[in-house]
């Protein structure tokens, strides 16, 4: 007999499910994707048990299909995230996070003397390392590594 696992967050009919988010990164993911300003129905689970991650988080967004660019922003905070595109309660597409080559307007530069930390200048980075992620500031040319990534 196949025991159907009970869902900890109720299913969406159409939309996007972002699964396998490390629990402590949930609010960064919400922030990066601008979900707090979304008009769509959003449900999320926090501190769910996960074999892989210990505690994980999950986000389900109804009637919204994330594009690759949005998904790739997640590489900065939740590279382990798995994205499922849902139509009529079925998974029609699975996507994984790819590290982008450029990052704009999301991350704060680690250098306190960088112009972007003093004036209204949109941050821009080249991604110079992908595992772990290393960002090179387009302006001050300093490197921001994964553990110092702060989302604006």
């Amino acid at each position: 007999m196949t025991a159907k696992k009970e869902l900890q967050v109720s299913a969406v009919e159409n939309g996007t499910v972002i699964d396998h988010i490390p629990a402590n990164k949930l609010f960064d993911v919400i922030n990066i994707l601008g979900i707090q300003n979304s008009e769509n129905t959003v449900t999320f689970g926090y501190n769910l048990n996960s074999g892989k991650l210990g505690k994980k988080a999950i986000i389900k967004i109804s009637d919204k299909f994330l594009c690759d660019e949005e998904i790739n922003k997640l590489a900065l905070v939740a590279p382990s995230a798995k994205i499922n595109i849902i139509k009529d309660f079925e998974v029609v597409e699975k996507k994984t996070v790819q590290v982008p080559s450029h990052v704009e307007g999301i991350v704060k530069c680690v250098n306190p003397k960088c112009i972007t930390n003093h004036q209204r200048v949109r941050t821009k980075f080249d991604v110079v390392g992908s595992s772990p992620i290393v960002l090179k500031c387009h302006y001050c040319e300093k490197l921001t590594d994964q553990e110092h990534i702060v989302i604006i």
Binding site: K113, C114, I115, Q119, V121, H138, Y139, C140, E141, K142
Partner: protein
């Protein structure tokens, strides 16, 4: 960014570097050329740097250009809270070229994106100072007759010294061998060593300033700056470790020359000044020709 700006030394290719050196040698033959007649250059120094500013202003004056600007931020509208973007946009309307010194890192890159005229970075915090690098390269080229296959020794503060980092990047086109002499606390950062590893450029690290310099073609001295140390005790420990004295030059190669970005404090003893291998004062003069050449290229001037 408008493509004629010079913000970072990495904006120049090997060919750009060689072109600027050729133009600089023309200016050295005759520095007084009215190539900037009718042109206005904005010299925006948001922090004082008398040496760099005078060098630029001499270069511009010898080319017959006019200068507008300020020599420190207190005499600009920055004190009223104007943003760098607004100051740059305003000045951009008035002039043909902007020379900018700013305490914040990345300021010149940002200005080059806001301005329609070329921007030449005259130093942005501890980040880049590409005209210094170009004058260093010109000095090496002039004294050695080539930039290829040289033994470059860098001494002193290799951790925070932006001049050594930029020089290292620029020299990487020319098949150099590097020697780094510094205390552990001030050694060349890993990022630059990895940069050299990737290009298979050999480098050697030393803790002592001794006979190892007998192999040098160029001895690039730097100042150990007190303000780089959070702990004043650490500064006291290392400040007197690398002092070059005339007697130490006895076994060095005849073509060897000593460079220093200046100002020096005590890292080169004054008894070295009379030695023909001391080149740091001519090096400063080379800055005028090099800046003339950089302006020439930025404005796409013709002879």
């Amino acid at each position: 960014m408008n493509k004629r700006s010079l913000v970072s030394i990495t904006d120049y290719s090997k060919e750009d570097i060689l072109e600027v050196l050729r133009i600089a040698s023309e200016f050295e033959k005759n520095p007084n050329r009215n190539l900037l007649e009718g042109k206005v250059v904005a010299s925006l120094f948001f922090e004082p740097s008398t040496r760099t500013r005078l060098s630029f202003e001499t270069a511009i004056n010898r080319m017959g250009g006019r200068i507008v600007g300020f020599s420190d931020a207190s005499s600009s509208s920055t004190t009223k809270g104007e943003s760098l973007k607004d100051t740059t946009k305003m000045v951009d309307n008035y002039c043909d070229l902007i020379v900018m010194r700013h305490p914040l890192e990345g300021a010149a890159r940002f200005a080059s994106e806001v301005a329609s005229v070329p921007v030449i970075n005259a130093g942005d915090g501890a980040n880049q100072h590409p005209t210094q690098t170009m004058l260093d390269l010109y000095s090496i080229y002039k004294t050695q007759g080539t930039l290829e296959n040289l033994n470059i020794f860098m001494v002193g503060d290799l951790k925070y010294g932006r001049t050594v980092h930029s020089l290292l990047q620029a020299m990487s086109y020319f098949n150099p061998t590097f020697h780094f002499i510094s205390p552990k606390e001030l050694e060349m950062p890993d990022a630059y060593k990895m940069f050299l590893d990737n290009l298979h450029i050999p480098y050697y690290e030393h803790r002592e300033l001794d006979e190892v310099i007998n192999e040098a073609d160029i001895l690039y001295m730097t100042r150990v700056q007190r303000e780089r140390f959070a702990d004043p005790l650490e500064y006291e420990k290392v400040k007197n470790v690398y002092i070059l004295k005339n007697a130490m030059l006895a076994g060095t190669k005849p073509n060897m020359r000593i460079l220093h970005p200046l100002p020096r404090v005590n890292e080169i003893d004054e008894d070295v000044d009379e030695n023909e291998k001391a080149y740091y004062f001519q090096q400063a003069l080379n800055g005028v020709y090099t800046r003339q050449a950089i302006i020439f290229k930025a404005l796409d001037l013709k002879w």
